[in-house]
Symmetry: C2
Subunit: 200 residues, 2 copies
Amino acid sequence: MARPRKFDIEDALKDAMNIFWQHGYDAASLAVLLEGMGMTRSSLYQAFVDKKTLFLKALDRYEVEAVDAAIAVLTTGSEDGAERIDRLFCSVIEAVKNGDQRGCLLCSAAAGPAAVDPDISEVVQRQLNKMSQAFYVALTQSAAHAHTSEQERGDMAEMLLSQYVGLRTMIRSKTRDEAVQKSVNAMRKFVGGGRSEVSA
Amino acid sequence: MARPRKFDIEDALKDAMNIFWQHGYDAASLAVLLEGMGMTRSSLYQAFVDKKTLFLKALDRYEVEAVDAAIAVLTTGSEDGAERIDRLFCSVIEAVKNGDQRGCLLCSAAAGPAAVDPDISEVVQRQLNKMSQAFYVALTQSAAHAHTSEQERGDMAEMLLSQYVGLRTMIRSKTRDEAVQKSVNAMRKFVGGGRSEVSA
DNA sequence: TGTGTATTGTACCGATCAGTACAGAACTCT
DNA sequence: AGAGTTCTGTACTGATCGGTACAATACACA
C-alpha cells in the first residue's frame, strides 16, 4: 500500500556495476550513476544507502556475474585443468580483441579504493582468494601439475592470480594488444595447457 | 634580479612524487600536495603549471628514481640474467616485509588515470615498455633462457612485466604477505634464477 | 472515494575540488 | 636609494562533490 518503485533493483545494480566498471569508483560520480541507472537521487539513496554501499553491492554483483564466471571456466568444462587455465587467459585476449578495454572491476578496485578503504579491501581480497583457489583446483586437476607438491601448486595458483591481475590492469591502461598477447603466449606455454598453439 | 624562490624545485618534485605514490593521483588533492610539498598555491602553479603537469613530472621523476633502479637490477650486478630477475622480485618482497604497501606509482597510474588520460597513458606505456625491454635483456643473458627463440624471450619478458604489475597492484590492495610470497616463489622457480632457495 | 504509505522529483546543503587574481614582499641591478 | 622583476600569501572563483529535506505523487487498501 504505497507508491510502487519505477525501477527494477537488480537492473539498477547491474547498471551501477557497469558504470563503476567503466569509470572506476572515484570517476563514477553520483551524476554519472544517476544518469546511467536512470533514476533520481532520492531513489538511489533510498535503495542503496550511499555511494560506497552501492559500490560494495556492485562488487557483489560483479562477483556473481564475472568472477564466478571466470571460476567456472577454471573449474569446469574440460578434463584437464591446465587447458581450463589456458581458456581463461584466452578469453581475456578475446575480450581485448573485441575492443573491451575496461579491464576488470575487481582489479581496478584493488588498485584504487581497496588501497584506502578497509571494507572494500575486504571484499576485494575475498574475491581474489576465491580466484586463487580456483586456480589451485585447476592445477590439481591438470596432468602436468597434479604430481607437484601441494605447496608448489599453491604458489603457482597465487602467481597465476597476480598474472591475471597484472594483465587486466595493463589492458585498462591501454597497453598494445600485441604486448598482451605476448604475455598470454608465455603464460600458456608455462602452464602447458592441452591445446597446442593459438586458436581464438 | 628578482625575488628568489624559497623552495628547491627538485626537492618539491620529489615530495610530489611521494605524495602521488602514497595517495594516488585523484586522492592527492591540491591541499595535500601543498601541505606535503611545503609551498603555497601560487608557487606550485607558477612552477608546475597545473596538477596534471605536476603529475607527469612526478612520473618522470619516478622513472629516474624507481623504474631505472629496477632496470638497473635487471641489467647489471650479476652475470646471470635470471638471477637478476630473481633479485628484482625478491626486492619487492623485501619492501612488503618492511611494511611498504604503497605498491608502485607506475602501476597505480596504469590502473587509474592512465585509463582516462592519453597523455598519462603515453608516459606509463613508455615506462612499462622500458621495463619489458630490461626483462628481455635479462632473459637473453640468462643461461636458462639464452637458447630460446627471440620470440619466446619477448613473450616471456612481457609476461614478467605483467606479473610485476599484478604483484605490486595486489600489494597496494593489502593482499596478505604470504600470498605475495607464494606468487614470487612460483615466479622464481619458473624463471630459474641462480640462487637455490629463499634468501632475503 | 478517501486515507495511509512508500517512492519520486527538485531544490538545496556544506564541503571540497582545481585553478586564478592581485597586492605585497624580497631580491638584483642601476 | 630607487626601479624593475619575480616570487609569495591570501582571498576568491565557479564547478562539482556526496548527501539531505521535503513536498508532490501514485499506488493499495478500507
